[in-house]
Amino acid sequence: MPGSLKKVIVPLSETNIPRPDVSIEMRTMEVALPEETTTSPEQTRPVEASVVRKYLLSRGNSAIADKSFKALMAICAASIFGIVVLIASELVISSQLSWHKFGLEFFYKLNVDPDTHLPTFWDPVAGTFYALPFLYGTLVSSLVALVIAVPLAVGSAIFLTEMCPKLLRGPLAFVTELLAAIPSVVYGLWAVFVLVPLLREHINPVLMSIFNSEIAVKTLGWTGLVGETGLFGGVNYGLGMLAAGVILAVMILPIISSLTREVMSAVPHSQREAALALGATRWEMIRMGVLRNARIGIVGSIILGLGRALGETMAVAMVIGNRPEISKSLLSLGHSMSAVIANEFSEASDNLYLSALIEIGLALFVVTIIVNALARFLVWMVTRGVPARVN
């Protein structure tokens, strides 16, 4: 077909089509005499053809079926909104009691017992419910997780998209996908029996000896982060904020890593070539050509990881220590929003208690919705120009 424009009047014999009996002249002659075309018996138009024709004509235009099917599918799609509305309304209604009793103070009040002058945030027996230690625990463990996970995830994403031999790329991506699919409770199990002893016996003592050493106290004492009252002061239980942060880091690594990879692959190749053409080394190419263009999306994937860390429940509940206190030390026992719900929900004895737990759930819902929406928006900003896998 290509090039046929120039050959139009050329006789067929020159076009290498093996049809010795046909030429334009012959066919055009036949046009004048259509009755010459013979048809073999089995190719004649069937008598019962009209049966098919009649049947098909009897079928309606199926407009009603098509419209109802489309409406049904639209309802399925709209159910996504329904779920959000359902969750929000159930949580708002069920947390009314606590909301009316404590108001906004529920989330920030540093409650102190008038008799003992000790902080008491959460005392189901006395009917005292303030959520600050849970907010604090969720935030701190998630930040610890980010500090650990972000460099590793971005580093591995750089390796996988820019440096890795093709042969390794598939298996390594598969491994990160697997990490994402391991259930929270299995991470928790592993953390309880492997990670916590490891921290208690080997890692925490090292951290403590570094942060609590005399040199550290002398030089950095003014920051308040070192010494007995610093980040690694107090009793070494193994359990606690640090353990929760580390297991959370492991859990959000694959999320950040795979999204960062997606964002980095969305950077057009021309950006890389432009940097290389200027004589950049590979790292300079990655830094200028890739990371600079992908940075919004990478931030988005980090925020998405944060969103996952904020809501992660089981693994955290198993290692954070479950003590509703606020302490600067990462080695101290703490509590988180999701963990307190998981631990106490089924034993919440009165309505106020239950309502307070549901209010924490509502806060978790609102925060994760905002964080996830922000993250998706940022990722979308980078990848929108790239067509999805559509043929």
Binding site: M1, V8, P18, A32, R45, R59
Partner: protein, 252 residues
Amino acid sequence: MGVGIEVTNLNAWYGTNHTLQDIQLHIPANHATALIGPSGCGKSTFVRCLNRMHETNPIARVTGSVRIGDIDIYQDASPVEIRRRVGMVFQRPNPFPTMSIYDNVASGLKLNGYSNKKHLDEIVERSLRNSALWDEVKDDLKKKSGASLSGGQQQRMCIARALAVDPEVLLMDEPASALDPVSTSKIEDLIFELKSQYTIVIVTHNMQQAARVAEKTGFFLNGRMVEFDSTHKIFTNPSDKRTEDYITGRFG
């Protein structure tokens, strides 16, 4: 038997792009009519307007009238009903990948709820014979997937699939453009055989093909139909200068 097609004042748009302008045309019944013209001239859009496939694209729009036989397809019937009367063969073979050869050919009937098994067997055999594929596939009709055939066989299977619903008109949108010369020649022979029974409209990029198979030829350029006449006249003595330029290769 096939029926004629009467096109009056047909205009079509993709978004703001006016792809067909004021087409007037009479396509005779039980003949092959070829539509030629350079890429993007609107010939594909035109055939897609004849079975209302054009409007499957949400930004597309059509005005004017198309009468196939005694019905105005934009007034008197729904797209679904029109497409059952007007079969279509596409540029690239598009078998249903999950179906056997048999199911592919029978799909037009089966998916419309027709379930007389014995009759289906007959129709499948006849359609495959009509599309000159029967001898090549009769032994593994239900065993082989339609997608496992060669490109040329797939296209003939697609023709059989279109024939199985016993259409009055057969539209072919560059049916051989993705095929090798041998398969192309088989498809052309087939069109030649079929045109005594069906009204065939074939869009082609290839002028020899138009000359070989069609009695009538229309030349499209920039969304307008420049000339429509007997194939012999178009290729030997065109009345429009632009047609002459195109068929002699003095063109873009």
